[in-house]
């Protein structure tokens, strides 16, 4: 029988190590790369099944925005602020793409894998802890968001956007922003009682968020109160940073934008771990 060679060739099983000293010698640390890679290998396998649909929508969405705003609106308004409309919209929709490709997978994938498929239960029975599981999931989503965040820029090239070296920073900006929003999505999934409750978040939080971010029109054209709101909107800082990087106008203000995005990512990451952790481990 295939069990018979058990023991000699066991991959990880060794002689029993009941003593405390031996046990502590084999203590394995936090956030082990092997655990993160294991969890992400599952995401990669799933992505292998869906990459076509994901890629299609990530190309088509900015194309529609650019057609609608660029060709329609753009014929009326040649510049927004002192930036050409195509440049403004092309860079602005990067943030939209990042938001949608991070917050939604964060909410839906988490909820489905945790509640419906119980995949997380299965993985937590393996040598993976909650911190590793959530970090790996968020990391995967944000890597993907960083890459797909480039799609609007690529599409905008076809509409006349000029390539710029600073655009190479866009995937990085997308990654950091995506990390925060993916973790935000995980936190929402942890708190939501049912998947329908996501509608509250989508309509009351995400939609206003991407409108009050300087994506399609400058925040400065908004009333004072709403302008204040934009300052605490991570997406606003993402838009500014992407636009400055892509149009070669990076300045000291962008350090502030980057700092906000990093802080948002770290805070949401820890919040996601504590909130979902409470529900995964009872």
């Amino acid at each position: 029988m295939s069990w018979s060679s058990q023991g000699e060739t066991a991959a990880v099983g060794r002689a029993p190590a009941p003593s405390g000293a031996q046990a502590s010698a084999r203590r394995i640390g936090r956030l082990e790369p092997a655990a993160l890679a294991g969890v992400m290998s599952r995401d990669v396998a799933i992505f292998g099944r869906y990459w076509k649909a994901t890629t299609f929508s990530s190309i088509v969405q900015p194309t529609i925005y650019l057609l609608a705003f660029g060709l329609g609106f753009g014929t009326l308004v040649k510049t927004i602020g002192h930036v050409k409309t195509i440049e403004y919209i092309g860079t602005g929709t990067v943030a939209t793409a990042v938001l949608f490709s991070s917050a939604f997978p964060g909410m839906f994938n988490t909820f489905i894998r945790w509640q419906f498929q119980r995949t997380y239960d299965a993985m937590l029975a393996a040598p993976v802890d909650v911190e590793e599981l959530i970090t790996a999931e968020v990391l995967w989503i944000s890597l993907r968001a960083g890459v797909y965040g480039m799609a609007p820029i690529l599409v905008a090239f076809a509409f006349g956007l000029q390539p710029e070296w600073g655009m190479l920073l866009v995937p990085l900006i997308g990654f950091v922003t995506g990390f925060g929003f993916a973790a935000f999505g995980v936190t929402v999934a942890a708190i939501a009682k049912t998947i329908d409750n996501f509608n509250y978040i989508t309509s009351a939080v995400l939609t206003p968020m991407f409108l009050v971010a300087g994506t399609f029109f400058p925040v400065s054209s908004l009333p004072d109160g709403i302008r204040q709101v934009a300052q605490v909107n991570p997406l606003y800082h993402c838009v500014q940073l992407v636009r400055d990087a892509s149009l070669g106008t990076l300045g000291t203000a962008d350090l502030g934008h980057a700092a906000v995005l990093l802080a948002f990512a770290v805070i949401m990451w820890r919040l996601a771990i504590s909130q979902l952790g409470k529900r995964l481990i009872d």
Partner: protein, 298 residues
Amino acid sequence: MAAAAISLQGVSKRFGEIKAVNGLDLEVPPGVCFGLLGPNGAGKSTTMRMLTAQTLADEGAISVLGFELPGESKQSRLEMGVVPQLDNLDQELTCRQILTVFARLYRVPRGERTEAVTRALEIANLQPRADTIVKELSGGMRRRLLVARGLIHRPRLVLLDEPTVGLDPQVRQELWTLIDGLRASGVTVLMSTHYIEEAERLADTVAVMSGGRIIAQGTPAELVRAHVGEEVLEVYGPPERLAEVDALASSNGWSRRRSGPAVAIMRAESLDGLAPEGVRRPANLEDAFVALTGEEIE
């Protein structure tokens, strides 16, 4: 004696008002197949989850493979495999993909992964379905895949939570062979079940769990002898006759239970000439189980 593979001391777990596990003491020696038998709601699944630190005990001490839980749970999980009661397979992945992911999660070295996956597919008898997605597998195949997933890293300890619930007799037989093979190769198996036959056939030691604690423990034969004797007398008849027999048993202080259309009287070997007419059969674990956990259904 070698150190216990699993040890629980005074473990309790409360969910709101319900005490799921209540002062549980349990020692599983290495190399045995240990059956945790109990009615639904006895606390078996909670106990299983506590052994992987997916449920944290409110009180008491738990150690698994020499590691203290929950602090060192991750180390112990490296060397144990878990087969859950509920199907938690990825619906959209193929058998091979799932096994490969878990080979990684269990830290099977890169060079050995392909071989480990092939071996697991053999165990599950799923080689022809290796590249079929889970959604398209039958219930029995899924269960076999769940078992194979828990064995991908050749664990020293395997937890099986109700491994054959809801399966065809054929699939059940197949899994029993597999579990027996595990035990024969020196792996410690802790299996929870409410199928008495399963425990009787496979387990070296059975612990009967009720109300969140162990109420009896021993080999199946010991439990039967200690709680219901050697023989059971089953008396069949119309309801009036059964009521009569019941009254007779009651006045003589015989231990008995309703067994479908009959009254079953325990320890029939010691009834002498007073015994009513009926069919004698050897006492079994089911008799002991009912004697221990009571006939009432909650």
